[in-house]
Amino acid sequence: MQIITEQNLRNLIDLLVKEAKLVVGPKLSGSVVLYEPLTAGTELTLDALPRRSSKELFFPVCEDILSYKREGGAMKVTDVDRSKFPETVLFGAPPCDAGSPSILDAVMSWDYKDEFYLERRKKSTIVGIACTKGDDACFCRAVGLAPDTENGSDLFLTPLKDGSYACNAVTEKGQALVAAHKNLFAEGAGAEPVPFVDQAVQKLDLVKIKKWLEEHFEDPLWERIADICVGCGACAFICPACHCFDINDEGSTDDGVRRKHWDACGFAKFTNHASGHNPRDVQNKRYRNRIMHKFKYYDDKFGKTLCTGCGRCIRACPVGIDIAEILETINGKAE
């Protein structure tokens, strides 16, 4: 087994920074921990789940997709040079974050390919880490992941009781990373792993849930949730799997930028057609769409569940809507 000490892990970050890679990891930003570029290994903060998921590495909060400028009489449109996207290494993503790109790859490339996402994805290496923290909002086990799920990571670290990490290069990218910095890793048996935290929500039968959803497009449950949902986008924005976006022009009619940025299906005007027709005109339809999209539609279309059980939406919901509780309820209802 490959072992890396905590010190060397931080050293590795320093080296990668020096190599002019974009190194991203959990870092204290103001009073919150976020995934941000690390400028030194010492900045890596592994004791809290970042408030936002690591999806922004591939799917930024906001990005330019083109710029336009009227020159003389003619409009000129300029593409974004995606070749300049940096080589990136993501550190410290627990399975619920590290696992999200492999879910999103499907929608981003199923026919038309979103090269903004894919280029960033191509140029990134994910160093995942087994999760030994967790609180009563966590439910990764419930949706089929676990604190030690390696899938999604290129290199996977398991915290050991002596403070070092057991490393498993899951993919070629991971192997390459290890190979390039061999002297930081050591071969050995390693200490005992740090135990995982128990989760309040037990494993759910996602097939059963999906079936229930299929049969309960209309259900009082949706109205009950919608009664209190205030229609903000907090749950969607911090979710590792939500990927809705909006496209807007910013600037004048003569000179400006077209930008793609996060959007949320909970917003009242999300599906509002210019004609005034709004297929999801009330909050229960919108919340239903959120659950359906995660646990039915996405699975129908791409064979994957659009949720990693990170629990962020539960912690962030202004009105305490608890997706794990809803899933448990459905699980209990479903035959």
Partner: protein, 314 residues
């Protein structure tokens, strides 16, 4: 005087207090539902996780008997009454559980023609305070886990409610953290203040939670959703974020009742209530106005006096 004496002694508010309030709320809610005074009651139900509660609209006696009040009942429920959000009022008279700070929002909404007093049955809560964020939620409220806004609360007693649940209880000798933080920022050099806010606003992802929980953000079309002309860029970039929070603070000036919900729900921990408090402080100093203490005819920015301060004008 008794209350005063009480105040000085309390170092914690025990679960028993909340249980008594809970009982009173349940009793009243059941009563008004049974008597058909209201079609529903907006209150709190316990959450799945320890030390949490969620808002709920209950319409039956059985549900009403499950209503609770605890330090976890942080939400300002008045947001459910404004039509752009929920419009529960459409169905008839509604009961609502309201803390003192929530009452300020109700008064403000009445001032702004969004609510009619006669459409509401207000179950006021004599509230000693609620939990802050990221704190130990044990059921007991102490200086260690009380919300920042509650430290400077001036509306423990809900004025103008139909009934009040609870008796006076307050924690003693709380340091006014919010006022201190505001003073600290005000004392910063200008560039440092800018850096402080810039850093905070750059984290904003425009999830609009601040807007959606705000009782006063009841516009059908928010200025930040309007993009021709675009006063506020809709994309979550530093420029638009700054503009959004400034515009919002300006729109709330003279209206915000200080429930601090925007700050509580911000997933990025932006201290939004500081902006609102700063505006409130200014309007108090300039025009001796405090929002939401009672429904009034006009807010401070909808009226003027001929001799208003103009020392800043050349």
């Amino acid at each position: 005087m008794n209350a005063k004496a009480n105040k000085n002694q309390l170092t914690s508010i025990e679960p028993a207090y909340y249980e008594a309030v809970t009982e009173a709320i349940r009793k009243e809610a059941v009563k008004i539902l049974k008597e058909d005074t209201v079609v529903g009651v907006v209150g709190y139900l316990p959450g799945r996780r320890k030390g949490t509660a969620t808002p709920a609209l209950v319409t039956s006696v059985e549900e009403a008997e499950k209503l609770v009040f605890s330090p976890a009942c942080v939400n300002n429920l008045s947001v459910y009454l404004t039509k752009a959000k929920k419009g529960v009022l459409k169905q008839g008279k509604v009961g609502i559980v309201a803390k003192g700070c929530d009452m300020r929002a109700l008064a403000g909404l009445m001032t702004e023609s969004q609510l009619q007093r006669e459409d509401l049955f207000i179950i006021g809560v004599v509230c000693p305070g609620v939990y802050g964020f990221g704190v130990e939620r044990t059921g007991t409220l102490t200086e260690a886990n009380i919300a920042r806004k509650c430290r400077e609360c001036i509306v423990h007693m809900p004025e103008g409610a139909d009934v009040a649940a609870g008796t006076h209880a307050e924690l003693a000798d709380l340091t006014p953290e919010e006022a201190e933080e505001m003073a600290r920022i005000e004392a910063m050099p200008q560039a440092e203040r800018w850096a402080f806010w810039k850093e905070h606003f750059s984290r904003c992802i425009r999830c609009m939670a601040c807007r959606q929980v705000c009782p006063f953000c009841y516009c059908e079309q928010c200025l930040c959703d309007k993009n021709r002309p675009q006063a506020v860029e809709s994309s979550p970039r530093p420029a638009g974020n700054m503009a959004w929070h400034l515009v919002r603070a300006m729109h709330l000036a003279g209206r915000c009742g200080g429930c601090a919900e925007c700050e509580r729900v911000c997933p990025m921990d932006i201290p939004l209530n500081l902006l609102n408090r700063r505006m409130a402080k200014e309007l108090k100093e300039l025009y001796d106005y405090e929002a939401g203490l009672a429904p009034v005819e006009k807010g401070p920015l909808n009226q003027y006096k001929e001799d208003d301060d103009q020392s800043f004008i050349k």
